[in-house]
Symmetry: C2
């Protein structure tokens, strides 16, 4: 069955737990993105570049606020809900700390893009209210386009940079997948959003395959926009 | 003469240069505060604390935007206007990088307070439009009060921390004064905002003395609020 059934936060405790997990992982994802992008802003060569990254970090903080406020509205402690996701997200960032300004830009652009795609995909499996919240955060995303010009200019000036940044892009995706698998394995409720639960059908394998294909294809397009092989 | 004369950006090139310098140093001060506070958020023990510091960093970024946009409105390149102030501000932060979360909190609280006081003092010497802009940034400040509870609780738990943080507070002020003196010595137009120029009276020595007394007194009160000797 391709169409998910109608789920509600009030009548389905497993679905409610899944939504709390989702809001928590997205919230902490946004807060750690804030921290990482702000740290990368320090490496920016010009005030304009610094300001562009700082502005992006600032919008990540606003996403965090929106998601955290919704957790509070649902009567959940953000501290408690986020706790299971701290280690995977902190490890992702620790394993992908950019060595220079260009690696930071690629990470911001690729990460912002994958996050936006994932928000749009997961939104399909949510009740109307949570769906609207997740999509409202999406409207705020996509501020990383300035990275494209900067990265392309750097590759034009020194083509060897392209090879290094292409490898870096692959490493980012590899780390993201490995942490995502870990989260999926440990958080049954969250995984059930996609694959369904006892009484609730989710996406079938074919649909999950198409979703992964869409995510991969968009990532490849973004790498190409940067002038990089995916 | 205590009352400054009426100055305008259009008719007084020295005053205009002074305002450009002032907006630039305040803008870069806000942008580097964003970077420092965001970096300190990484050390926060809980998600709530992290979020509180990240929120403060975010409002520093908004101050930066307001001030930068005004520079652009005046037909000035922010990059060029900010250039002379990069080194003193970056050195200030390099010399006062907090070693832990509590030092970060004291720096955020004390720094936010001194900045707010300085904005209010300097605003008196500005034309009405620049005055309104500077005071509008002030309204956005003062988000660091959460630091007080955290610092006091840490000192209650381990009173030895109080001695270390009091020393830290003195070091922050010492570094800030030494960089401020450097800026004042190198930027005649900026200094003339306070002390007056060829055709424009500024504050007399007595008034500058009173201003320094007010800044010092407020700093001592903030240190006392944290439970620290100034």
């Amino acid at each position: 069955m391709d169409q998910p059934s109608i789920k509600t936060l009030d009548t389905d405790p497993e679905y409610r737990a899944a939504v709390v997990d989702l809001l928590a992982v997205l919230a902490y994802g946004a807060l750690t993105a804030f921290e990482r992008i702000a740290a990368d802003a320090v490496m920016a060569p010009t005030v304009d570049d610094k300001a562009a990254l700082a502005g992006m970090a600032t919008s990540e903080y606003r996403h965090f606020e929106t998601l955290r406020d919704r957790l509070i509205e649902l009567g959940v402690s953000p501290e408690v809900a986020i706790a299971p996701f701290r280690q995977p997200l902190e490890e992702f960032h620790a394993h992908t700390a950019p060595n220079d300004w260009l690696e930071g830009l690629v990470k911001a652009y690729v990460g912002d893009g994958i996050a936006l795609d994932f928000y749009v995909e997961i939104a399909k499996y949510l009740d109307p209210e949570t769906n609207a919240l997740v999509l409202s955060v999406c409207e705020e995303m996509g501020h990383s386009a300035f990275a494209v010009d900067r990265v392309r200019a750097a590759i034009t000036a020194d083509p060897r940079i392209g090879g290094r940044l292409a490898l870096w892009g692959r490493r980012l995706v590899g780390e993201a997948l490995s942490q995502a698998q870990r989260v999926a394995a440990e958080r049954d409720a969250l995984s059930s959003l996609l694959v369904g639960g006892v009484d609730r059908p989710g996406a079938d394998l074919a649909e999950i395959g198409r979703m992964l294909a869409r995510l991969t294809e968009n990532h490849t397009k973004r790498m190409a926009a940067l002038g990089l092989a995916a």
